[in-house]
Subunit: 479 residues, 3 copies
């Protein structure tokens, strides 16, 4: 029988290095898998390899030639009775076949593996729907966050953790035991009401990064065209010179720091706005407008993108002396100095200004990197929130201050020269200074002693006008 | 009623994106919150949003207009009877109001949320004190490491984990279930005796970084003034030249590598000293002096600060060719070469020395970064201690060796020139070479075969002189 | 008695800062330690410090002068009866002394701390062997992944986690409670069949890094000698010039990018090969050849090493303008320009090419670093597998594309010049372009719509030829 042969081969899909090393284990116990599709088969194979006895439940138990031959294949009812743990590797639309099995499923643990095609496809989570269909069983959501690859071959990078949730602690314990035996590390995510979260997880593709990424791309495009016109097209039209090669490095090295500085200030602006809103309202017990909420929730992403652009800016700056154009200009300058027999005078102010500019940039970037490191999950989890807010707020504003000062020093005395304003437009770095300057000014206002005192009281629960009406409630934490 | 209105508004404080996505859940169960202050109200709101029924326990159940109207407000005794889980959001000083409630609290789970204003404020942890007041209840410490913001709005960066501890496994299970339902990930930290640790956590502000930071600042200040005098003031006094602009980059680029190298050797010195102490004592079963213990415990922080300074040194070095001063000097040199019609000869030794110096620096910095990456919590947790000690000890000493050689090559033949010693003082890099040279020499001694053998035996439990007295005990691990 | 004295001192070995802060706890409960060797004593001390009562089980209870005096020392049988939890700090060879104690050990929790000297030393894990000797006890494997240092002094970097496994949930709970009381965080790794994994853990020294490291070293050596001959020896033989100083920077800066690019393509080649194999076979249900499996399992390590070499390449490139040789040549060129009264023309094509080359390199390196960051454990755990595969596959191939284009631009028009081929050998960068070009071409083939469709169907479980024979099974996920 060819079908039989093929199924024998299909047992050896394992990529895991474990299998060879494990001394062939005794069969622990029997588990059941409903669903003989790809998902069910992959899981079944893995379970067999880990030493479980596997019973497949199928509508047509006699025609399932693709299933591993070491597995038993029974009808649904018989399969359900043969094991305590039943994996439901079936799409939600077909769940109703379980209703008539209610008797056999009573007291069993059902593991819902299903995923949906898009978010909010159904009013309730698949696992909750399953529970409502078979109220006598203990439904546990789990294993759905793994890729098919991981189900077949064992844990690897983003597939190490199995999230599970469910109402019954024992049922979860049993499922977690299977997960750890398969080599995954299981994480209890609470009751079945967390199932929607687990079902949405595999569908997400950086949902929190979308808005910040769009802002970054928008800013990049806007400043790219602005500078293209001001620098390259202007020079072509007024002087007839083609300096289009500057797009690759010079222009990129202007766009990157500009976008970085704007995004860094966008990262600190909502916090400042929120403080002013609380000051104005005199209470913290009122919801912020929706746009402010959404903004505050993507500050981390804004900051990390800003760091990315700063990193590129640093690299673009450091390769300046290697560029052909720069080396050519430098030689040309020296040659013309000699041929025209001119001398240049060393300008101490220029030296001070240039060195300060570079030094501020370096220190700013150093702090930037520090902020980035503390937002790595494993680092931020190790910090108390007092430490985290110290780094992100105090050091964050210091970073903004250093980078803004760095940009002001770059402009230096060009702010007042009319030649700076080609076609009456300001250069890019002046435009990008507006936002950080505003943020820093507002922050300065907020940390003046009198404003700071009011803000602190509001944050501790004090409300303007509340004292008069109900003085007792202003004493916090007294029963 | 205005009070009523305000409390209705106050229910919508949630910033969490969850709330919209969750299909309005059924009321899971009823929990009780004692304390109607800011902490209690924030928690109550969050619990209501997550679908819990909330009962506030209050001294004046009829005057609590600030509480959310969906919550019930009862007297303490009635509230305690209405739920199994009671959150105590009350300051420790007021705990005695719970003593008369002992009957109602029997068998209940009390979650102690309290924090103190400073460490070691009381002889025992708040939670242990609470347990002693209400011996019939199951006290669980938890939720206190969260900021008020997180309690109101759900998990975010440093507020993702809820640490809990307590004696009863079921009580902890119940509290962990609430934490996961609120979106936090709960971590069991053991029995109630860990409560002091949890209560100290929110108070700490980088306690392990203080000593290393002070050392770094001290070293920076000392070398800054030393070099300021030697380089800038010396030049001003003896030649009348104002080269103060060099403070910003040149001086910074001298202070950074010097401090970095000294701190890196401070990071490896205590290990070497400890080995010699064990060699001298002939046993490992004696406590190290206190200062050595403290020193060893902050090696990681010393190393990371050293890495920070090395990072700044790299940036400061890489921008050298961009500096105005450097470009000016380079042009000036070329111009004078031509005007005076001199020629220069290419010096192969100089090329070898310069390139070796740079190459050693690069390799040293590469290893430095590797050491930094392996001390990230998530990376070091994934290593076995054999791997970790291989990286930190073997590669660490190699880093120190490369960086020291890098500095020696920088000095090169200037060690013997008298002109190097302005005002009879050695330059900074010579001073900073003392410590690493000593550490490397001592380490070299330790890895000579005969010393190494003795050290290894001592570390395996052997004691000098012990064999004679009680030869049987020298056989380790035999019962 | 000197022995007594010494043992008193030996109690104070703690380096942990905890001890001072903990208010001296009451004795929780009594635990037993079998084995009075180094391991047993270290653990006993730590247990005593944490407040446990410790009973040592010994063959000669009256001669154990090295044990802490606060601990009780009894014969094995008496010790076993005095506690519920027994730590077995004895080497596997001596386990048989436990057999006669079967009665006293019935129902007790035995914690197996043992490690082996090498992998696969015994047919079954020590803990499983122990269980087979004492079937009436509950064996838990644990604490063996800690270094002796950590057992004595409490958790530190790579010694924070205690992995435990065993059959009985209550037994594991009890052991985890002890671990958390000692300050470690305990992780349940499943049933006793995971013991071999825990016993192998302390023995491993970067097992997954060996093959990639050997490849890296091999490639480095090969290209080093190839370039040494082509660049330095060639120049010495044909022109008599000694440019050996170029080894330190120029040669290193050729070897690094070459090895980096080859290893990056080695990281993406197996995925492409696997796809073609699946296409050829028309099914995913067949095991890949062993060499391909092993290759795919070390892709992460290959990629990280490639990133390391790219990092060195960046540093080596950025210090170019600081090098003595480069500054000398630049001055020489200017001087000769003037002396010979030549002029040079600015070449826009050169400027475009040079700047594009640098810009592609910078962007490629930026993506490279991004790939590195997402493979940090804490970051990759936070990603869904959809996100992880997006980053590693899409962005990974983009990185390869950028870096390959960067190298092609470096070659530019030298590919066709015969002077490039000294001694009829191609330069290094041409050799290293072969592999990435092949990978990119194959990948391009795979993403053409018709091939892509077939691959996707195969990955979803479709098999060529399977439809005809058993059409119903091709409907995935239907019961």
């Amino acid at each position: 029988m060819t079908g039989q042969e093929r199924s024998e081969k299909s047992e050896c899909v394992s990529l895991s290095p474990m299998r060879e090393a494990v001394p062939a284990p005794l069969e622990y116990e029997r588990v059941c898998v409903f669903g003989t599709g790809d998902m069910g088969r992959s899981l079944g194979l893995r379970l067999l390899q880990a030493g479980y006895g596997v019973v497949f439940g199928s509508r047509r138990p006699h025609s399932s030639s693709l299933l591993p031959h070491r597995a038993q294949v029974l009808g649904h009812a018989a399969a359900a009775q043969s094991a305590h743990l039943i994996f439901i590797a079936v799409q939600r639309e077909h769940y109703d076949f379980l209703v008539p099995l209610a008797n056999q499923l009573k007291g069993k643990v059902l593991v819902d593996l299903s995923n949906n095609l898009r978010k909010n496809q159904y009013p309730e989570a698949n696992a909750e729907y399953l529970q409502s269909l078979v109220p006598g069983a203990e439904v546990v959501k789990g294993f759905n966050t793994l890729s098919a690859w991981a189900l077949q071959n064992g844990p690897s990078d983003a597939n190490r953790q199995v999230y599970i949730c469910g109402e019954s602690a024992e049922a979860k314990q049993a499922v977690m035991a299977v997960a750890t035996k398969l080599g995954f590390s299981a994480l209890d995510r609470g009751s079945l009401s967390a199932a929607w979260e687990l079902e949405d997880f595999p569908l997400q593709l950086f949902p929190q990064w979308r808005l910040p990424l769009r802002i970054a791309i928008g800013l990049c495009a806007a400043f790219f065209f602005y500078l293209l016109i001001r620098d390259i097209i202007y020079s072509y039209i007024t002087q007839g010179k083609d300096i289009s090669f500057r797009i690759m490095v010079s222009l990129a090295n202007k766009v990157c720091p500009i976008v970085s500085l704007i995004m860094l200030s966008l990262c600190y602006l909502p916090g400042v706005l929120a403080s002013f809103l609380q000051l104005y309202r005199g209470t913290k017990y009122r919801r912020f407008p929706d746009w402010l909420d959404r903004w505050m929730l993507c500050r981390k992403q804004l900051g990390l993108l800003a760091l990315g652009f700063a990193f590129l800016h640093v690299l673009y700056t450091l390769i300046i002396p290697i560029r052909y154009y720069v080396r050519f200009k430098s030689t040309e300058r020296t040659v013309s100095l000699i041929r025209e027999n001119r001398t240049t005078e060393f300008d101490t102010t220029m030296a001070w200004r240039g060195d300060s500019y570079l030094s501020l940039g370096i220190l700013g970037f150093g702090l930037y990197v520090l902020l980035g490191i503390t937002s790595l999950p494993s680092v931020s989890n190790a910090l108390s929130w007092r430490e985290f807010s110290f780094v992100q707020s105090k050091l964050g504003h210091l970073t903004l201050l250093l980078c803004t000062a760095h940009t002001y020093l770059y402009g230096w005395n060009k702010f007042l020269r009319s030649s700076t304003y080609k076609w009456y437009t300001p250069p890019g770095y002046m435009l990008c200074l507006v936002l950080p300057s505003v943020v820093l000014l507002l922050k300065l206002l907020l940390i003046t002693p009198c404003v700071d005192r009011t803000i602190t009281r509001i944050r501790q629960g004090w409300e303007r006008g509340a004292d008069q009406r109900n003085p007792k409630d202003s004493q916090p934490l007294i029963p």
